[in-house]
């Protein structure tokens, strides 16, 4: 087990930090599940952190100069390279600490990006930083498409979903590919800590982020982030949809600690995926056959995950 985890007792409803390192007043859409997740990430990390942001929704809504929602040091360079920027920050602090130019105490370094910045365009940069073993955490806020540019499909867009570049038509039913398993790619780097999280289970989310920050070396947290604007869902149902994603096996919650899988929430009485799909306009065009296929594949994927966790 990871020694750094022993000191950490975990967050609970009783000891939630009051601090808001991400200030209110930013410009996210109503009901945005991504900024909700980011707020919890920042609550878990506190103010002793340097944030390296990818270009994307969370970057533009939080930093329209001369305003900023960031009460912690924050840097944005470009879209695909937040992990490389974090590599530079981490290395600089390492040498500056060694040379006595900055205080010895540890400061967390987080890189954060959306699913496009993480699983598509930025995959190489993250892979490089993970492989080199920098002491940082990478948080992916996955809203399952390029929302900032107007809802275009990404590698993380789920099967069947309608986006502006995977439109259903006479020859198509929407996204034709299955969601890319980015957490598995990260786990394949042999890094000490990988986890998936959901804003519906916010204490679990915060504990995972905190663990990712505590662990020495690279860590990765993949967070489900509902996007009412892009998904055609009701803003007030973002948390409900997040919960359903877990209960229907669409987005299982687990940790990969030193290569071993642990299910955070075992789904013993799964709900049919249809309940999840019907709350979102992006899936409205799917017929029974597609839904049946999605159900079969989700069941199979979940079974694999359970098997992996049984090996732990």
């Amino acid at each position: 087990m990871i020694p750094e985890f022993e000191k950490f007792k975990g967050f609970s409803a009783k000891n939630l930090p009051k601090e808001e390192p991400l200030a209110p007043g930013h410009r996210a859409c109503q009901g945005c599940g991504e900024v909700l997740a980011l707020r919890m990430v920042m609550k878990a990390l506190g103010k002793n952190v340097i944030v390296c942001s990818a270009t994307g929704c969370m970057e533009i809504i939080s930093s329209p100069y001369p305003h900023t929602a960031w009460r912690v040091p924050w840097i944005h360079i470009a879209f695909e390279n937040a992990a490389a920027v974090a590599s530079g920050v981490e290395s600089a602090r390492k040498v500056l600490r060694r040379k006595g130019k900055i205080p010895k105490r540890h400061v967390d370094i987080m890189a954060v990006g959306g699913d496009g910045a993480t699983g598509d365009i930025g995959l190489q940069w993250i892979s490089g930083a993970m492989e080199r073993g920098h002491d940082f955490l990478y948080v992916c806020l996955d809203n399952e498409a390029y929302m900032n540019t107007g809802v275009q499909r990404s590698g993380c867009t789920p099967y069947g979903a309608m986006t502006t570049t995977s439109p259903p038509g006479k020859q198509s039913f929407g996204q034709v590919t299955w969601k890319k398993n980015v957490p598995a790619i990260m786990a394949a780097h042999g890094i000490p800590y990988v986890a998936t999280a959901s804003p519906a289970y916010f204490i679990d989310l915060m504990n995972k982020v905190k663990k990712a920050a505590l662990v020495k070396g690279p860590a990765y947290v993949h967070i489900y982030s509902p996007c009412p604007t892009g998904w055609g869902s009701a803003g007030e149902r973002s948390v409900e949809i997040s919960k359903l994603a877990v209960d229907t096996k669409v987005f299982p919650l687990y940790e990969v600690i030193e290569g071993r899988y642990f299910l955070s929430r075992k789904i013993t009485k799964p709900k049919p995926v249809e309940e999840y799909l019907k709350l979102q306009r992006r899936f409205r065009h799917l017929d029974e056959e597609h839904i049946a296929y999605i159900q079969r594949r989700l069941d199979a994927d979940y079974e694999k995950l359970v098997k992996l966790s049984e090996m732990a």
Partner: protein, 392 residues
Amino acid sequence: MGKRIGVEVSIAIADAVKLARAEVIPAYPITPQTHIVEHLAEIVANGELDAEYIPVESEHAAMSACCGAVAAGARVFTSSSSQGLSLMSEILYIPSTMRLPMVMVVANRAMSAPISIWNDHQDIMVQRDIGWIQTFAENGQEAVDLVLHAFRVAEDRRVSLPMIVNIDGFTLSHVIEPIELPTQEEVDAYIPPFKPKRKLDPRKPVTMGPVGIPEVYTEAKVAHDHAIKNSRKVILKAWKEFADHFGREYHPVESYKAEGADTILVTMGSISETAMTAIDKMRDEGRNVGLVRIRLWRPFPAQEFRAATKHAKVLAVVDRCLPPGAVCGPVGAELRSIFYKIPGAPKIFSFVAGLGGRDVTVERFEEIIDKAEQYSKRRPKELYEVIGVREK
């Protein structure tokens, strides 16, 4: 003063970076820059330099890590070339407007296609407008001196801009020259410790790299333009102090037998050494010719260049870059522009030579000067001419 020894220019550059006490070195290998980053890796591995060497997975990541490291308060160096420099291109514009100082040596190399590892200036000319201060070295000693100068200028709070020192790939990077490396004490006296105005620090949070809405974008770019224009004073002063410390003088442009010359050859980089030989030969033959070499490319030293070529009737400008479809090479275009509508301005003729490692010999320089003088009497059909093209 250090000893003058025979050493490969790349090795000497790496030693200069060590003397400048670089703290973070993100680097990705590309020919012909490799010897610089290899030697730096060795220096760090041996504990001769207390630095973090980041063996990144691409040049794009190298430049990204450079940005993060400077923002966190470290002195940063990297080096690249050609395709690698172009891969960085997206990021290169960012540290300059964000005022993140760092030093990069570019071992100039041709751009693909066809793929070529050999020298010309096409790689840097496509990065002309990234807003970095840029100098061109002629020889190994100058390369080393310009690297030290670059750290001093870039990190000066009045400047706070990234800087590129261009060295010709192979013809400079891989040759062994007699080079004098200063001592650590001398370099420490010339380059003060890096003290950035702001850095990423939880004790004093700052937001770096925010969104520039239309109401502020123009102002951000104008502030950058002012910064690089105003850097001129610091660049000159740092060269003056360099002469005081190390005894070698540098100026934005360098003249060789140009005083009173009717025809002046204009070059950048290491071909200027051969150009000087050509000038000597033609002078011996009674021709009134000279050479002006541009050392400072950005900010462009218009004033100094005009002064250096004040009495000339003809300028023969040699570009090491062929921008297809353009009116001429970038140096030629720059010079035509600074002399536009200036009374008594010299006639400017643009030549392109030495692409992809093609040797530019003394004879070629003679040909360029001869042609420029002919064209001054009878206007050429084209706005530029590529020299030394094989007919079959």
